[in-house]
Amino acid sequence: MHEENRGRVLREHFGIAAALGQYVIALAGNPNVGKSTVFNALTGLRQHTGNWPGKTVDNAQGTFTYRQKPFLLVDLPGTYSILAHTVEEQVARDFICFGQPNATLVVLDATCLERNLNLALQVMEITPNVVVCVNLMDEARKKNIAIDLPALEKELGVPVVPTAARKGEGLDTLRETLYQVSTGARKSIPRQLVYSQAVEEAVEKLVPTIQRLIDHKLNPRWVALRLLDGDKAFIESISRHLELQLSPKALQEVAAL
C-alpha cells in the first residue's frame, strides 16, 4: 500500500516512474564534485534526461541492478545547500523530503570536504537514509590531503564510502552500501546538528506543535528550522506533498506573514 502510494507520489509530483520493488536513490552533491561521473559509472547507458515537471531544471534518471535488485538513480541538480532559495535547491529538497527515496547518496569532493559537508549535514537532517560518497580521492592524494574515513563515518553516523569514480575505484563498495541502506539492512543514526543557543531555544518552542501536525512523516526539528529560516515556499510544499487539505484563505495568511 505504502509502495503504491509512493509510486503515485513519484509519478504525479516528480514525473518519475518507478517500477514496483525498484529502490529509488536520490543523488545529491555540490557542483563540480564528479556527481555525473558517479551517476554514469553506476548507470552506464541506461539513463534518460529530461526536466523536472513544470521547471526548467535538468533531471536525469538511470537504472542499475545489484544483487538482482533493481535500482533507480535520480540525479538531483548540483547545489551548494538545500536551504532552498533557488529553484534547483527546492527541487532537490522536495525530492529528498517528499519523494521518500530509499536512500540518498551525497557525493562530496575530498579536496574541499568542509564546504561539501555543509550539504551532507543538511541532507542528514531531512532523512537518516544517507550514504556519503567521498569522491575525487585520487585528486586528494595528489594534493597531499589525507582523510580519516573511519573517523568521518563515526562523526557523521552514516556510511562513508571513498571513491575515485573517474578511475572506477570504490564503486563496488558504493553499490553494496547503497544496497544495504536501501533494503534497510543497515540503519544509521545520523549526527544531530548542534545549533547555537538562540536557535535551539527557538526550535524547542516550535517542535511540539509541529510534531502534532506532521506526525512522524518528517523530522520536526528540520521543519522548525525551515520555518525559522522564513521558508514560505516550504509550507506550500508540505501542503502539496503531504496532501493536507489546502484552504486558499490559509495559504493567503501564510503568504502575508
Partner: protein
C-alpha cells in the same frame, strides 16, 4: 546600500588574506555567499584578478570563488 568604509575583500591584494567580519549584501546574493561558506570568521585569500582587474578570484575553504568587485566591496574583513 551604502558601503561602510571598513576594509573589504576588494581591498585585499593578490596573495593576501583576511578574515570576514560581516557580509553587507542582501537577498539571493547574500544567501549564495553564505552558502558557499563565506560567513563571518572565515579566512579568505585573494588569489588573482581577471586580466582587466574584475572579477576577483578568492580562495575560501579550499575552493576558488570569483566575485565582482562590487560584491567584494560589501564583504568586510577584520583589519590586519
Amino acid at each position: 546600500m551604502q558601503p561602510s568604509d571598513k576594509l573589504s575583500l576588494a581591498d585585499l591584494t593578490v596573495g593576501t588574506a583576511g578574515r570576514i567580519s560581516s557580509v553587507e549584501l542582501d537577498g539571493l546574493l547574500r544567501r549564495r555567499i553564505l552558502d558557499l561558506g563565506m560567513i563571518p570568521g572565515t579566512q579568505v585569500e585573494c588569489i588573482r584578478k581577471s586580466p582587466v582587474g574584475d572579477p576577483i578570484a578568492f580562495r575560501v575553504r579550499n575552493t576558488m570563488i570569483a566575485l565582482r568587485s562590487d560584491a567584494a566591496n560589501l564583504i568586510k574583513v577584520y583589519p590586519f
